[in-house]
Amino acid sequence: MNRRALPFVLPVLTGVLLVAAWYVVRLWILPADQRFLLPAPHAVLNAFSERGPQLWSATLSTATGALLGFATATALSIVFALALSLSPLVRASLYPWLMALQLTPIIIFAPILILWVGPGLKSVVIITFLISFFPLVVNTTQGLVSTDRLLVDLFRMGRASRLQQIFLLRVPAALPYFFTGLRIAATLAPIGAIAGDAYAGNSAGGQGGLGFLSLIYSAQFQIPALFATALVSCLLGFLFAGAVVWLSWAVLHRWHDSYQQKDS
């Protein structure tokens, strides 16, 4: 078989096997009175068609929160990383507090946040921001201060101005680090948005995101719909991660060693 097709064919095959195993467990392993715990795949698909509009609007709501939080975190992390990279003193004074921010569990912080800004999109965006900011700022800062010393010497000898040194040397050299942070943040952002709206999503008359919806389905014991919500959340995560993987490839593949060419 064509070797290039393998990365696409193999996951589909394992997927088919998983679905088969799922049916096997449901029909032959689980006792009849517990089958409701593992709804059949076709029941989950049914839930999609029945709950379609509800799931769709919840997905849009979560995606909006995730995107806004992620974008804000990315933009601010670049500004912060540039400031942090300027001097070890700035780094020393701010790093412990960034750590503190990251180490405070979001589940503890969310109720406080809702007290401050109220429920709704605003809270979801802030929670998403908080969860994706740290990996971005840490990686980008690391990239900005890890510039090859020889290249710095080259620029100093070439009498580069401070701005030239930053924008022609340190920033491009930091790109691979930035994208490492961006990949981590992209996987965290949808999770943050969903956790966020499980707490704060019930604004505007119960119109919430996926996190809020899962709480409702769980309370109503709608198990196939709960599975459908999980599936949609997973797809949203793939969308975020995939977009960043593509962007990283587009920017880096021509020159960076992490994208090795076939002929070398």
């Binding site: 090859d148 020889l150 290249l151 010497d153 080259l154 620029f155 100093r156 000898m157 070439g158 009498r159 580069a160 101005s161 030239q164 022609l168 040397l169 491009p172 050299a173 790109l175 021509r254 020159w255 960076h256 060693d257 060419q261 070398s264």
Partner: protein, 265 residues
């Protein structure tokens, strides 16, 4: 005053003038890296510095580049302190030091871009140098697609695009295989025929130093042990390496180098 003037006129003002230069790093109780060293280089000379590791060769180059300052004494380039001289200098490192995210052409343009040279002028000079360095066909490649020798050619093109008066080279061909090194040595001399820069060249290879230089300075323990003119005629070519007089010079200088810097036990 008047009587001394003709004598001074007869020898050109040095482009490099080191006056009693001492350089220490850190601990003042340890011997200095450069110890009260004085050296003049006239425009057009090709001076090689050789000596054991730690004899101060690379330190001397860094002083000339203006990246560091002497502990005492003066480092003058065209009569101005090296840190503030208007004289255009270019540095070539042992590593090609290319920017991996830039193509060959963009790399060769880097230093001109820092100087805000107009794009048209930049294009003209870079195209010319890519051709001279025989890397025009590689102009759109990225550094990771190049061999070691090709990378060093880009590094040379980048430095020479500045049209420097003084070229500082710190073991530029040390990491290359013998054949590539010899080729690049010949091409370096060919480029010098066109641009006429002065060179201060650091190397570990006596043969390379003899082939390239009009003058060889042997350093030992931060001082000048020997200062020797190399009387082989220019232009020098691959055949030069086969001449008896070339081998004789290499043998003499190797002998002087050994006696100046006995191998530590």
């Amino acid at each position: 005053m008047l009587t001394s003037l003709p004598a001074r006129m007869s020898e050109p003002a040095p482009i490099v003038d080191l006056q009693s230069v001492t350089k220490r790093y850190g601990d003042p109780s340890r011997p200095p890296v450069l110890d009260n060293l004085s050296l003049r280089v006239a425009p057009g000379e090709f001076v090689s510095l050789i000596g054991a590791s730690g004899c101060g060769k690379s330190t001397l180059l860094r002083l000339l580049s203006g990246l560091s300052e002497p502990t005492s004494g003066q480092v003058l380039v065209s009569g101005h302190p090296a840190t503030s001289t208007p004289t255009e200098r270019a540095f070539i490192f042992q590593d090609a030091a290319l920017l991996p995210w830039r193509t060959v052409r963009q790399n060769a343009e880097t230093l001109l871009q820092l100087r805000h040279t107009p794009p048209a002028e930049r294009d003209r000079r870079v195209s010319e140098l890519l051709a001279l360095a025989r890397i025009s066909p590689l102009a759109d490649r990225y550094p990771r697609q190049l061999s070691g020798g090709e990378k060093m050619r880009v590094s040379l093109a980048r430095a020479l695009a500045l049209e420097p008066s003084l070229l500082l080279l710190d073991e530029p061909f040390g990491a290359l295989d013998e054949l590539t090194r010899e080729h690049l040595n010949e091409e370096l001399l060919a480029l010098r025929e066109r641009q006429r820069w002065t060179a201060v060249f650091v190397t570990h290879s006596v043969a390379e130093a003899v082939f390239l230089s009009s003058r060889i300075v042997i350093l030992a323990a931060g001082r000048i042990a020997h200062d020797l003119p190399i009387d082989l005629t220019f232009p020098r070519t691959a055949e030069t390496r086969e001449s008896p007089v070339f081998h004789q010079r290499v043998a003499e200088i190797s002998r002087l180098l050994r006696s100046a810097a006995p191998v530590a036990a």
